[in-house]
Amino acid sequence: MIKFFLIVNKQGQTRFSKYYEHVDINKHTLLETEVVKRCLSRSNEQCSFIEYKDFKLIHRQYAALFIVVGVDDTETEMAIYEFIHNSVDVLDEYFSRVSELDKMFNLDKVHIILDEMVLNGCIVETNRERILAPLLILYVRKLKGSIFQTTWIYRKC
């Protein structure tokens, strides 16, 4: 089971967080800083798995962004490692080269994408088309470079 999914930048600021098990809001920041500290201190030569408390952290770096996934021992590290790549792939596809700003300005959309991929801590969907389908019904795909202007097309009900 996936416990949480974090996207943080190199400065350690959280850019996206999703918890699949309730964690008290006051503990979020503490947990995130702890986790990020551990991940940021790793170099590329080091492996991407860290044992932290009672879960395993799997992290992957994409330019200035770190994606950290916390899982319990029922998940296979390697599979989650690939899953991270998959999720970045999907985000990339939607945002046409995803950047940190994309995630900040379109937090809700990142949530939609991830909610399609992971539900209840389980990976449910890995197919790019199917993940993006609900989102594309709501919004048109973002065009490259148009970070700041989002075209809102409301669904016709």
């Binding site: 590290e77 690939e82 949530h111």
Partner: protein, 976 residues
């Protein structure tokens, strides 16, 4: 008025949206907190508006702030308002905020029940989807109870998009409302064979998660899962199933036997590393659960180790790490097969990555033998010198000690070597583990009698150079070693070469800078040493020498009397008076040595750690009962001065029964420890072993091997362990020669019967130079090691330990909304997929609930037999026992698959079905087809590999229908 409204809506145009908020926060880096509180004020204003769009925008911003760590629970009601918006865009924002911020403690959550129910039954699949997604995050027991039936209905929705979500949510519902598990389980099971792979995968996920907690209830599903495992090509699903089997095999060893083959096939065939790793893991688990009786047992272990070696040798650090991790699991049961890869693991110690080095260290722990211990430790010692970070160095240090001391120093053949290793370790700077080294020194010196002389000489050298250890940083952990050194030198002072010299070293003024508990030990052991010197001098008739020693004591002890540490002060002043008295006696030429050494007479014997529990507690003694009732803190004494005494009388009788209450005792003990730790006036129990003066007649008979004194015992400086390695090698060589001689003699006697058997040096051949006095740690009846970790009564998964094969009683049905027709569960929505399946697999119909009831009991029995039958691996599977139209077919299918596979594998081991998708369709005649397909297959696998090199998702057809999950599977992304 109208103008005002227009003005209001114009104002709204200038409301910040999420982008503005994010930008604003970025622009206010200096006063971020102030800016955000300003924004929150604005949001509060916006939430007061009637316009739902404004509210949604506000809630959207709140979600962002929540991510930054701001509490937004105050807006819970507004979030619910947005959730109930009719427009999907707003609804989604509401649900998102709810899923991020709601939890069981949110009281307004009960207001959402009807809204969620409405959304769940909405005609739009996205409404339903978003409700399900949100629900997964904030479902409460109440919500679970009220909505269980609705969600269960959705499990049979026409759209796979909804089905898979509903199936996954059920897991959370089960957790919160365990009563729903039994009624919902048949349908969940049905979903394992859903035509849509996504739904199938979701069901596998849920059942795996359930089964992991209570595996025995799910054993009957094994045939079904087995079938899935052999037929599915979806790696995500495979991994889950294989993990599940790992949990099931300990309960049913026969299952393990059945699994080995398909798993090894998968190991051979798969190119996905994650799957390979999982297979290896499960094979290991299976082999652990199987005690014996596997013909190709060692072969599969060999295969695993081989594959892991490939992983470890890979340049990818992740694979290396996982390889080592899995290797350590094999190590527990098959140390021999791992030991052959010692070179590789030692190599990993040089890795750049610390976590890999730590894993390798873990492995080394299990790999040592008498033969290679010295070599491995030597290697580790070089790493200790090279190591940069203190944490890693400390880890190395503990590992060295762990490795050496494991199972009663089983692998140490030469304790002189070990002592010198310990002494070398004291040279580490800034280690936290001084106490560990100290404990080892004490343990070895006490338990290995033959080594005492050597140990004492080393320890006196340590004491002599104490200034080196304690110089730089006083609170340095390493000075703990001096504690051990002082104690050993004092206790075994008869072995000292120059006691006078050591005495002086221990009385140096520098000693007063050491921590209190060490000084205390110094003071105590100075006296032991002193007693010893007195005796020696008096025996030699050197009255002057004895008096000189006394004078030294009288001169130096006052420095301890002035100590700030109570313990030191008290001991020192007592001893000072004693020595002064002795001085007077010496002046009168009275022999005193006899009496002084009588103070420390008695043999010290090691005692098992839990031996104290063996001593019967005198009747009526309750160490946990208060002698005087403590004044309670909570009640202020001014207000109720009498209450204390009054309550005391009341409480008394309550204490008695609680004596038997173990938990309470443990708790109190813990509390007492805590209190003692915080109490500056409480003298902490020092880690020194208990001294017990008792005559144990059993000690003498323990054979103690005399040391072969080829080592110069008087070592001038600090010792070097290396020289002992050489000496040990020589010793072993000699031993071997002797043995060979003996053997030759024997052989000659026997008449050269087995001249081909070369003398191979095995572990057993090396006799230790010194023997450890092993204290068999007898465990009292009430101190079983497994006692402590009982199941946690608060474990949420315990409630899900439900027998799923029992027939469902009417009372157990899920609560259904009354105003709604109970028929909903059989609405056309549900029937459609069932009908579909019917056409494919007619056996499905028996899953229908109602018909079941009557022959439920019968079937239950059959099920059990079924599993037994499925598991018994008699090669010619008897024709299906009875043409029962029910669950049998499932397992029968599995059997045929299995049988064919067995034959398959027997005839051609390499050509496995693992890499051929859909082979189970043509399982009827695998032999004939196989040869035909061989080439085809090879091509296919090649093609597959190529396509797998593409990035994930790349192979999906772009034009495929979006909602109806096409039944094609997505292979796991594979590392190129």
């Amino acid at each position: 008025m109208a103008l005002k409204m227009v003005k209001g809506s114009i104002d709204r145009m200038f409301d910040k949206n999420l982008q503005d908020l994010v930008r604003g926060i970025r622009n206010h880096k200096e006063d971020e907190a102030k800016y955000i509180s300003q924004c929150i004020d604005e949001i509060k204003q916006e939430l007061k508006q009637d316009n739902i769009a404004v509210k949604a925008n506000a809630v959207c911003k709140l979600t962002y702030l929540q991510m930054l760590g701001y509490d937004i629970s105050w807006a819970a009601f507004n979030i619910i308002e947005v959730m109930s918006a009719s427009k999907f865009t707003f609804k989604r924002i509401g649900y998102l905020a709810a899923s991020q911020s709601f939890h069981e403690g949110t009281d307004v959550i009960m207001l959402t029940t009807n809204q969620i129910r409405k959304d769940l039954s909405s005609p739009s699949q996205y409404d339903t989807g978003v409700a399900l997604t949100g629900l997964s995050c904030f479902v409460t027991p109440d919500l679970a109870r009220d909505l269980a039936n609705d969600i269960m209905t959705l499990m049979s929705h026409t759209k796979p998009y909804i089905r898979k979500k509903a199936v996954l949510i059920m897991y959370k519902v089960f957790l919160k409302y365990p009563e729903s598990l039994r009624p919902a389980f048949p349908r969940l099971k049905e979903k394992l064979e859903d035509p849509d792979p996504g739904v199938q995968s979701a069901a596998v996920n849920v059942i795996c998660e359930l089964a992991r907690r209570n595996p025995k209830n799910y054993l009957s599903l094994a045939p079904l899962f087995f079938k899935l495992m052999t037929s599915s090509t979806n790696n995500w699903v495979l991994i889950k199933i294989i993990k599940l089997f790992g949990a099931l095999t300990p309960l049913e060893p026969r299952l393990g036997k059945k699994l080995i083959e398909p798993l090894t096939n998968l190991i051979h065939s798969t190119s996905a590393m994650s799957l390979l790793y999982e297979c290896v893991n499960t094979v290991i688990a299976v082999l652990i659960s199987l005690s014996s009786g596997m013909p190709n047992h060692s072969a599969s272990i060999q295969l695993c180790v081989q594959k892991l070696r490939i992983l470890i040798e890979d340049s990818d650090q992740n694979l290396k790490y996982l390889g080592l991790l899995a290797m350590s699991k094999i190590l527990k049961t098959h140390p021999k097969s791992v030991q052959s890869h010692k070179d590789l693991i030692l190599q990993c110690l040089d890795d750049k990555d610390e976590s890999i080095r730590l894993r390798a260290l873990d492995l080394l722990y299990g790999m040592v033998s008498k033969k290679n211990l010295m070599e491995i430790v030597k290697k580790l010692m070089t790493h200790v010198d090279k190591a940069e970070g203190t944490t890693y160095r400390d880890e190395l240090l503990t590992k060295i000690i762990d490795i050496c001391s494991q199972s009663n120093y089983q692998y140490i053949t030469n304790f002189e070597w070990y002592i010198s290793i310990l002494v070398e370790l004291t040279r580490l700077e800034g280690t936290r583990h001084g106490h560990l080294i100290a404990a080892q020194m004490l343990d070895v010196a006490i338990r290995v009698k033959a080594i005492r002389k050597f140990a004492v000489s080393q320890m006196s050298a340590l004491l002599d150079s104490a200034h080196l250890l304690a110089s730089s940083t006083q609170r340095n952990g390493i000075c703990e070693v001096l504690y051990a050194a002082a104690w050993i030198c004092g206790e075994f002072s008869e072995h000292l070469q120059e006691p006078h010299h050591t005495l002086e070293a221990m009385l140096r003024p520098k000693v007063t800078t050491l921590p209190g508990h060490i000084q205390a030990v110094y003071v105590q052991n100075v006296v032991k040493l002193y007693a010893n010197i007195l005796q020696q001098k008096e025996q030699a008739g050197e009255a002057e020498g004895a008096q000189a020693a006394t004078q030294l004591m009288v001169d130096r002890l006052p420095q301890f009397v002035q100590s700030a540490d109570l313990e030191v002060q008290e001991r020192a002043s007592c001893i000072l008076q004693l020595v002064k008295h002795i001085q007077k006696l010496q002046a009168k030429d009275v022999p005193v040595a006899e009496e002084v050494s009588a103070l420390f007479a008695g043999e010290l014997n090691p005692v098992a750690p839990k031996a104290q529990k063996k001593v019967p507690v005198p009747e009526g003694l309750d160490l946990d009962a208060w002698i005087n009732e403590p004044l309670s803190d909570s009640e202020s004494e001014d207000e109720r001065p009498r209450a204390v005494f009054h309550e005391e009388e009341q409480r008394r009788p309550k204490h008695r029964p609680s004596e038997a209450d173990e938990e309470e005792l443990a708790r109190r003990r813990e509390a007492r420890k805590q209190e003692q730790a915080n109490n500056p006036f409480y003298i902490k129990s020092s880690p020194s072993p208990q001294k017990r003066y008792q005559d144990t007649p059993g000690v003498e008979h323990i054979p103690v091997v005399q040391i072969d004194l080829s080592v110069p015992l008087k070592v001038p400086g600090l010792p070097m362990s290396d020289q002992y390695v050489k000496l040990e090698e020589e010793r072993r060589h000699r031993q071997k020669l002797e043995k060979d001689k003996r053997r030759k003699k024997r052989k000659e006697k026997k008449g050269r019967r087995r001249h081909s058997s070369l003398p191979t040096e095995s572990d057993e051949d090396i006799a230790p130079a010194q023997r450890v006095d092993i204290v068999t740690e007898e465990m009292p009846e009430n101190a079983l090691p497994s006692d402590e970790d009982d199941k946690d009564p608060n474990d949420p998964y315990r409630a899900l330990d439900i027998d799923l094969d029992k027939p469902l009683a009417d009372s157990e049905k899920l609560p259904v909304q009354k105003h709604r027709n109970a028929e909903t569960s059989k609405s056309p929505e549900k029937d459609v997929p069932v009908v579909e399946k019917k056409s494919k697999k007619p056996k499905k119909k028996e899953k229908k609930h109602k018909e079941k009831e009557r022959n439920q009991e019968k079937r239950e029995k059959k099920k059990a037999e079924d599993l037994d039958f499925w598991l018994s691996t008699t090669p010619p599977p008897a024709p299906v026992p009875a043409p029962a139209p029910s669950t049998e077919e499932l397992s029968v299918n599995a059997i045929t698959t299995l049988k064919d596979e067995c034959e398959d594998a027997k005839t051609e081991a390499q050509d496995e079905e693992g890499n051929a998708e859909g082979q189970d369709q043509d399982k009827k005649s695998p032999k004939q087809k196989k040869k035909k397909h061989k080439k085809e297959k090879e091509e296919r696998t090649k093609g597959k590999k190529k396509s797998k090199k593409q990035r994930l998702g790349g192979e999906e057809a772009a034009g495929e229908p979006v909602q109806n999950g096409a039944p094609e599977e997505e292979p796991l992304p594979v590392r190129a």
